[in-house]
Amino acid sequence: MRNLIAILRRELYAYFVTPIAYFVLIPFLFVCGFFFWAAFSFFSNPRAAIPNAPNELMAGMMQTMSMILLLVTPILTMRLFAEEKRTGTMELLMTSPVREVEVVLGKYLASLGLMGLMLLSTLPYPLYVHRYGNPDNGPIIAGYLGVFLLGSCLIALGLMISAMTRNQIVAAVVTFGVGLLLWVITFLPAEWGAFAGYRTLRSALVYLSLQQHLENFTRGVIVVKDLVFYLSFAVVCLYLTTTAVLSSRWR
């Protein structure tokens, strides 16, 4: 446990003394802010008279934030293991009396913390929605929970891929590619006549889509299935990360 905290602190420190944290936080907030203003002026247009406008706006922001998280989380996670391998500090870490699980979880929690800070910095949006409207807080809270869970899956995925390569750029690009694939998998056509088992296959693949499970959260309902999916996805990625780290001992 103490080791875990030490690694967590080391990684958080590394985020903030290197430009990484800022180069992730600043564009994230700027782009989200831009989307917020654009959406705000659209949803507050009295002529459009959109039903449930304040919550529709926040639901849209949740989708937007999750999309931008897809773009920035590979940058958060790319160096976590790849750099250690490249600079050779991985050997040090492996020979030190630290368990692999602690290393993995420490790094994971550090990234989660930074992502939490990113989401926390978007609090002005719901505050402004409260000032200019009467939103329901339930869907906003559920939405933030959903985005956080989705982000934690993306980070777990990035961590896993970072543990499999020694090149940061490769880690980032592959993470983004896999994340994007999991995103757009819902674009699969609904029917494919020539393929008999296609519907089952499609529903299984679509179930893997990360953003598909976000919808219920943004609407204000926590479906336990979605919760199970996100948590199990993250746990599997972290397990595979630990396995990959361990494998360097015997390979």
Binding site: W37, F43, A53, P135, G138, A194, T243
Partner: protein, 521 residues
């Protein structure tokens, strides 16, 4: 053989084995996809098998060494554990998706929960019901909100009914044949089907869905009587002023539609089996015995729809009687200079919030009313009655009025009451026996001529509300339109919002970053 560096010699056989297994797997997938009796899947699988044999036989030395090595042991254990964990992931998620049906509704309006009344109706459901919702799938359409809400609601119904309710959402533009089959004119139509029977609703709300289910599963159909004997509109009349279309629409909703001549009844009374009585455009006066029959009907919890037309001179008795039920009918013509079709005596009216008008308000649909007299709640409504305006002219006091001089071109005189003028009210008796009454100053809107301009749906909505069972009225409407977002009031406010969200928050972190950089330099 070319010398391969130590430790990588096993690369070729291992890669070959993986490719071979992949080919066999591909063959299996193709077999699933293409169905039996095709040669291609077998060819692919055979190719994989041959390749596998070739790698095993051709690299016997390498395989031997590989399998004896320490790495192989670790590798096998790792591969096994990875497969196991992925398998657990799959099983857990499949089980969760199939059987774990728990959810927590955090919305204040409880959008994702059904009322007790609906749960009772669904529990009593003893046959499968299939629901087809006709909605546009274009997300930029105003009506798309209805589609989303219908999907949410129907998912809840399916869940609560444990699969006895199934549903599909259809875009009538993409499936014109199906739309034609169900006679979809306006896009929003939800069809509830059990066997051969069918119920439809154009409203997307829990009340309407549950009411449709109740109507669908009820043993004996409800009878709606159309009064005759005062020169009313006739349900047998196919010409423009007739009510054949309206009667057809009610029959499509499993109502039984019959004519009723009160005076021929002995004693003069409304039959016991009446679910509702419609009086559409009477032109001859009612006599005392008939009014007594209507009064007795309402007093035992009856449901009455009165559609009157100006001039109302002949209906003095009726109008005097209506006052006791909280309704004031004027002997005038409603003029609306802002919202009308062709001329100001054909107002389209503005709907006011009520269960009957809800879908019209949300879809911003309008209905033309032709030559209309004013219908308002009386000054002091009798106790126990709730009288609500349904439709009125525009709010202006100069562009709408109740014209009392019917023989001259309309002009706002001191004698005329200025707008807004209501020309439809709904009366609900809040105590037992819960009589319901709707009075409108026009009977043209639901006639054959006007039926398809929205009046027909309005008419059906009214009858559905009148015949609604007591407990269904109690389902609270969940109206998200009460949640609004104000636009910014000034440029300064706009700049503040933009400044804080787009620039201030990033700036905070820029400054922190600069400070850290400065200290470490």
């Amino acid at each position: 053989m070319r010398r391969v560096p130590q430790g990588q010699r096993e690369l070729i056989p291992v890669a070959g084995a993986i490719v071979a297994l992949g080919l066999i797997f591909l063959g299996w997938i193709l077999r699933l996809g293409m169905g039996p009796g095709r040669w291609a899947p077998w060819a692919v699988a055979l190719l994989g098998l041959l390749m596998g044999m070739a790698t095993v036989l051709g690299y016997r030395q390498e395989w031997k060494r590989l399998l004896r090595s320490r790495q192989a042991g670790f590798g096998a254990v790792t591969a096994l554990s990875v497969v196991l964990v992925l398998g657990i992931f799959g099983v857990v998620n499949v089980l969760a998706a199939r059987h774990l049906d728990v959810q927590y509704d955090l919305t204040q309006e409880k959008f994702f929960s059904l009322s007790e009344q609906t749960e009772r109706v669904l529990a009593a459901l003893n046959e499968p019901v299939h629901v087809i919702g006709f909605f546009t799938s274009d997300p930029s359409d105003v009506r798309h909100h209805d589609r989303m809400r219908a999907e949410q609601l129907l998912t809840l119904y399916r869940r609560t009914s444990r699969g006895r309710i199934t549903f599909e959402l259809v875009d009538p533009y993409l499936k014109p044949q199906l739309a034609q089959q169900y006679g979809v004119q306006y896009e929003n139509l939800v069809v509830f089907q059990a066997g051969e029977r069918r119920e439809t609703t154009t409203n997307v709300s829990e009340t309407d869905f549950t009411a449709a289910l109740v109507r669908l599963t009820r043993a004996e159909p409800m009878v709606v009587y159309f009064l005759v004997g005062h020169d009313e509109r006739l349900i047998s009349d196919y010409s423009d002023p007739g009510y054949r279309e309206a009667a057809d629409a009610l029959e499509r909703l499993n109502y039984v539609v019959q004519e009723l001549a009160l005076r021929e009844q002995n004693p003069v009374r409304v039959p016991e089996d009446a679910a509702a009585v419609v009086v559409a455009g009477p032109r001859l006066p009612f006599d005392a015995s008939e009014l007594a029959a209507l009064e007795a009907y309402l007093r035992r919890g009856g449901r009455l729809l009165l559609l009157l037309d100006p001039p109302t001179d002949a209906q003095e008795n009726l109008i005097r009687w209506l006052r006791r039920w909280g309704v004031q009918v004027g002997n005038d013509v409603v003029i609306d200079l802002l919202g009308y079709v062709q001329e100001p005596t054909i107002p389209v009216g503005q709907f006011l919030p009520h269960q009957i008008t809800e879908s019209f308000l949300r879809l911003r649909r309008s209905v033309p009313f032709r030559f209309t007299c004013s219908v308002e709640p009386v000054e002091s409504v009798p106790k126990g009655l709730r009288v609500e305006r349904l439709v009125q002219t525009n709010e202006s006091q100069v562009a709408a009025w109740a014209e009392t001089n019917l023989n001259a071109p309309p002009r706002l005189d001191p004698a005329d009451r200025p707008g807004p003028i209501a020309f439809g009210v709904a009366v609900l008796q809040e105590s037992d026996p819960g009589a319901r009454l709707v009075v409108l100053g026009d009977s043209d809107f639901a006639s054959n001529a006007f039926y398809r301009f929205g009046g027909g749906d309005f008419f059906v909505n009214i009858v559905n509300w009148l015949t609604l069972q007591e407990e269904l009225i109690a389902i609270p409407p969940k109206d998200p339109s009460e949640r609004v977002l104000r636009p910014v009031a000034s440029r300064g406010e706009a700049l503040t919002v933009i400044g804080v969200t787009m620039f201030f928050m990033p700036l905070v972190f820029t400054l922190i970053g600069l400070a850290v950089w400065w200290r470490r330099r």
